[in-house]
């Protein structure tokens, strides 16, 4: 029993490392620095400066916070989506389908290594926000901030798995990822507070990952008590988990479809 558990952990770790190493297209020093470290800086910079120019410093701080979180999503989602896309493009996913390998383990292993990248992207993004729009962290409880950021990162990594499977099924990474990133920017409260949305759109926005996490960050930013925000944070986690399950169902569906048709394309 213990041996089987140990083997399972070893296999999961290997799969996590190998899918990351082999299927993450930006894992070269140029691509990594550009996407994980510089891109969040550029995105935060762009919207902080537009906010400062068009509205004012206070609003620009909110934009910067939102864009730092979106920077996390961009790198996590794109990294995971690539692991599915290149697996199908290069045809290596067929080797999974002919083995008895644990599908859940393979599915979950694709997201793990992208989580640290998401957090790194947030750190560079929020550092830029501090430099450009002077976000004040003095009264922030760092423990709570780290907890909230971790929950959002986990939730969006789980959502990234869902998008990854969508990319696997449609065989289109660039457009699916681009469209998802754009939709998330508009609907999750990154820039436009979701309270301004009409009823149905507001409810839809609450079903997306990142929305509830961003609300928690916003409330913390306004000085709210953390004890009042547990519910929202839990909802963020549940939302991510729901997408993770939906993604797995899609993954299984894809394998079944490939087995029935006998082809990947």
């Amino acid at each position: 029993m213990v041996n089987r558990l140990f083997d399972g952990i070893v296999s999961f770790t290997q799969q996590s490392y190998l899918t990351y190493r082999g299927l993450f297209g930006w894992l070269n020093w140029q691509g990594y620095i550009s996407n994980v470290l510089l891109r969040p800086v550029v995105v935060v910079l762009t919207f902080s400066l537009i906010g400062r120019f068009a509205v004012g410093l206070g609003v620009a701080q909110r934009f910067a916070l939102g864009m730092a979180v979106l920077g996390m999503f961009f790198i996590a989602m794109n990294g995971i989506a690539q692991s599915y896309f290149f697996d199908r493009q290069t045809g290596t996913i067929k080797y999974l389908f002919i083995t008895r390998g644990n599908r859940i383990s393979n599915y979950l292993s694709r997201g793990i290594c992208h989580l640290p990248n998401a957090i790194l992207a947030f750190i560079t993004g929020i550092f830029t926000a501090w430099l450009v729009v002077y976000i004040n962290f003095e009264w922030f409880n760092w423990g709570y901030l780290i907890l909230v950021v971790m929950v959002i990162a986990i939730s969006m990594t789980m959502f990234g798995q869902f998008i990854g499977v969508l990319v696997l099924i449609t065989n289109n990474w660039v457009h699916i990822a681009g469209l998802t990133n754009s939709i998330m920017m508009v609907l999750t409260g990154v820039i436009i507070p979701i309270g301004r949305f009409p009823g149905p759109l507001y409810e839809f926005a609450k079903l997306l990952p990142m929305t509830n996490g961003l609300l928690v960050l916003g409330f913390l930013f306004d000085g709210a008590e953390f004890s009042q925000l547990y519910g929202l944070l839990l909802r963020e986690l549940i939302t991510g988990f729901t997408y993770l399950i939906l993604g797995y169902l899609g993954f299984i569906y894809f394998e079944r479809h490939v087995r029935q048709t006998g082809e990947l394309h």
């Binding site: 891109r39 400066l49 120019f53 820039i191």
Partner: protein, 258 residues
């Protein structure tokens, strides 16, 4: 004259290529969310000068990404398709041919820019207001020329830097900040503003801002003058880099990129 004919031919070739590809709806749709966000931001204060600037800037910002990316990869793509040899052996300098192509891509990508501007125009809540329309139109010509010429810099740069997957994802949007499409140079932090002064589009966009807000002829002409000066600087740098790439191809018979 011969060079003009070659530029026109390169323009037509690229234009046909763009038009023959399937209309990529995603390219058009993808600009809409960002435009919605920009419209919401400018709506907050409702300043007509800012609304006007962002409507114009969103148009050029959408084009910038497309033109720089497409022109940046143009030499590599031609090399992969086997058409680069014909461009190298003809008498027209490669830089002229790429300029013709960049104009075609600019025109093609202007559809995305137009959609972005229309979305902002519809959602901004107030109509745009311009203090001096003739000067604005002249300033827009400077922006178009500066984008088309600056994009030339990226064609040899993509070959020489040999950026691997995803390398340009941060560089191209940073170029949009420095070009001041959405934020006038006077509103940039000092460090960025200094770097921005070397980019022709930032001067051209400054003249756009001055035309909207009603600055004097003299100030606008100063911006145009600096735009021309920096354009020569960028063209010089592009010419040197194109020469290096051409020399490499002629000496080694390959770009060393495949």
């Amino acid at each position: 004259m011969n060079n003009l004919c070659a530029i026109y031919a390169a323009f037509r070739q690229r234009w046909k290529l763009e038009m023959s590809s399937k209309i990529n709806l995603f390219d058009l749709i993808l600009v809409i969310p960002t435009a919605i966000i920009l419209a919401w931001i400018v709506r907050q204060r409702g300043d007509q000068d800012i609304i006007t600037y962002v409507i114009i800037g969103a148009f050029f910002s959408a084009i910038w990404r497309g033109v720089v990316f497409q022109i940046g990869w143009s030499i590599n793509t031609e090399s992969a398709n086997g058409t680069l040899e014909s461009s190298i052996v003809c008498r027209t300098p490669l830089i002229m041919l790429i300029f013709g192509k960049s104009l075609a891509v600019f025109l093609y990508k202007s559809r995305s820019g137009l959609i972005a501007s229309i979305v902002i125009l519809l959602l901004a809540g107030k109509p745009p207001a311009v203090d001096n329309i003739p000067l604005l139109l002249l300033s827009l010509i400077f922006v178009v020329i500066s984008i088309a010429l600056t994009s030339l810099l990226f064609a040899p740069l993509f070959v020489l830097v040999r950026g691997k997957g995803g390398f340009w994802n941060a560089i191209i949007p940073f170029g949009a900040i420095l070009s001041c499409f959405l934020i006038p140079i006077i509103h940039l932090p000092q460090g960025l503003a200094i770097a921005s002064r070397f980019i022709p589009a930032s001067w051209a966009m400054e003249s756009v801002w001055f035309s909207i807000t009603g600055k004097t002829w003299w100030e606008i002409m100063r911006s145009w003058g600096m735009c021309i000066l920096t354009t020569f600087f960028i063209l010089g740098a592009s010419y040197i880099m194109f020469s290096i790439v051409e020399k490499r191809v002629r000496a080694t018979g390959s770009l060393g990129i495949n």
